[in-house]
Amino acid sequence: MAKSLGPVKRKFSPWTDPNAVPFIRFENITKRFGDFVAVDNLTLDIYEREFFSLLGPSGCGKTTLMRMLAGFEEPTEGRILLQGQDIRGVPPYRRPTNMMFQSYALFPHMSVEKNIAFGLEQDNMPRGEINARVQEMLKLVKLEQFAKRKPNQLSGGQRQRVALARSLAKRPKVLLLDEPLGALDKKLREETQFELMDLQQTLGMTFLIVTHDQEEAMTVSDRIAVMDKGIIMQVATPAEIYEAPNSRYVADFIGDINIIEGKIADTASALGAPGTVKIESDGLSIAVDQECQAVKGDHVAFAVRPEKVRISPDAPADPSVNAFYGEVWDIGYLGDFSLFIVRSEDGRFMRAAQANVSRLVDRPITFEDRVWLTWPRDAGLVLTR
């Protein structure tokens, strides 16, 4: 996508710099468990101070990839470079990575402060320094008054903070977070996500997070790698992943989207306007502003997010605009948004989301209304994969 995709969180994009040296490099990594291929010839670069997410459904290989970096699994093929050093054969207890476990894995027979001090004690740090660091960590996660408690005397959220403090205590070069917030309720999860981002900025560490929660990945990450069946489908910033998915899989995995299968009817040259393609799908004709490798007759998918589709009871004034006519089949009221599911005469469905800008008393559009869905030529995109 040549087009700029709006503002990113902060000015930080070492991946666009051809001279930047990756901090972590997965090089042609394959991992097999018996016949099962968990990770399939995967190559990935992660840069220093990056907040990187591995996102995918369970069983896609994201956790395996992280465990190989931590040293709990060795790749079957390929190598992992950390700051240019091949770390094959280095046991977990000598790797400069620390992990926050999905189950937290807190030592049940040790108090909170003992748990946090555990890693520091392994390095034979002087007692005074350990105590100072433990206090600092307790303050960081706001658990000072719980220092003497055992893990089973804490709530889920507090345990998660202890786990975070313990994994941060050694100031690892890379912090690995395995589904770190899975056990928390939504509100606490969102709060913690922002705290994690603040922490990562303040401490200047590289964070690698494994999650199946796309919202979480979108919120916290500099870049996201979307994985499926052991391969990476796309690596990009959250905005790019959302606005410019490179495949049906990524488009469908992240957020809500309308996908219409069709054929290329015309390409730019034929239409006269450069960078425009026309898609034909059983009588529905869609024009898209997009440079596209596909040629006439190719099977492609057209994808457009529901919030970019406008819904109106009136026919569009300009007949050349992309439009879909049908009957309101279902309405999903989500509070901030209403999702309209519209069924065309030939039985196809399309969804449009509308922000509920005013308090809902009388719905302007309701069930069984005949409506027009319209979207501009730059709202959607053509997917060839």
Partner: protein, 309 residues
């Protein structure tokens, strides 16, 4: 009746009339009173009695409530005083405790690695391994101890094996049978499942990610064993040790069949008093002291467990 209805109120969480609940609680207590407290009181009474040439071989006998004052006046601590005067009994107690302590330590040293290996084995073969540990119970305990005689006696299977593989000359014989060594072998063999199973139960439920976390934080595996695995298996270690130590202290069959004349154990002494000397009151006193000796440390331990929890 109103009370019963109130008790059965679903708001209290438990249904059913109160007497059924009372019954459920009472059954184990009735069992304990009938088969533990009552026999113990009888033994206690006999231990305060005097030996007599009669059936039963002690006096006084309970003659009804009319003569109850007379009955109590004949009870005394004579047998207990005798126990402290004859060093045989004190030595028997101490020797029993020594054998039980050494055996328990040996059982821990052998059982812990076994239990750990079982707990770390693939999930699919664990039931088989547990089965194998329980398998000896399918044969009578007595027969298994007898089998050890066949193995350990001077012209037994062990001698034959060592002679066959050339570790021992044809004129040499294994001199283990009827020694303390044979008693230790017999005890460790017989009690191993009782040590392995509680240890396995404690180790098996341990979360493997704890060891990964320890390793991740820079702790090598051998250190992680002492800092994580062992402390977390302590309940199993204590349970296994108790289950083994207590019955070993009172063990009779194994020292009788495998031990020598000089193997002194309180179980053997007890047997001799009861059946050899027919001195029921003294034998009862020996049994009561043994019980007190074992119950007091358990009570102290349990009290401390409660404080920890």
């Amino acid at each position: 009746m109103a009370n019963v209805v109130a008790e059965a109120n679903p708001a209290t969480g438990t249904g059913g009339p109160s007497w059924t609940r009372w019954l459920v609680v009472a059954v184990p207590y009735i069992w304990l009173i009938l088969f533990f407290v009552a026999p113990f009181l009888i033994i206690l009474k006999i231990s305060f009695s005097d030996t007599a040439i009669s059936i039963p071989p002690y006096t006084p006998l309970f003659q009804g409530f009319g003569a109850i004052g007379d009955f109590f006046s004949q009870l005394d601590f004579e047998n207990y005083i005798f126990l402290t005067e004859d060093p045989l009994y004190i030595w028997s107690y101490l020797s029993s405790l020594r054998i039980a302590a050494i055996s328990t330590l040996l059982l821990l040293l052998i059982g812990y690695p076994m239990a750990l290996a079982m707990a770390r084995a693939p999930t699919s073969i664990r039931p088989t391994l547990v089965m194998l540990v329980i398998l000896p119970f399918w044969t009578s305990f007595l027969i298994r101890v007898y089998a050890w005689i066949g193995i350990l006696k001077p012209d037994g299977l062990l001698t034959l094996l060592l002679q066959t593989i050339g570790l021992m000359g044809p004129d040499q014989q294994v001199q283990i049978f009827r020694t303390d060594y044979a008693v230790f072998i017999g005890i460790v063999y017989s009690y191993l499942p009782f040590m392995v199973l509680p240890l396995y139960a404690a180790l098996e439920k341990m979360d493997h990610s704890l060891l990964e976390a320890a390793s991740d934080l820079g702790c090598p595996p051998w250190k992680a064993f002492w800092k994580i695995t062992f402390p977390l298996s302590l309940p199993g270690v204590i349970a296994g040790s108790m289950i083994c130590f207590i019955p070993i202290t009172g063990e009779f069959v194994i020292p009788d069949l495998l031990g020598g004349a000089d193997t002194l154990m309180i179980g053997k002494t007890l047997w001799t008093e009861f059946f050899g000397n027919r001195d029921w009151p003294l034998a009862s006193a020996v049994a009561v002291i043994l019980l007190i000796m074992l119950v007091i440390p358990i009570m102290i331990f349990q009290n401390q467990q409660k404080k920890v929890a």
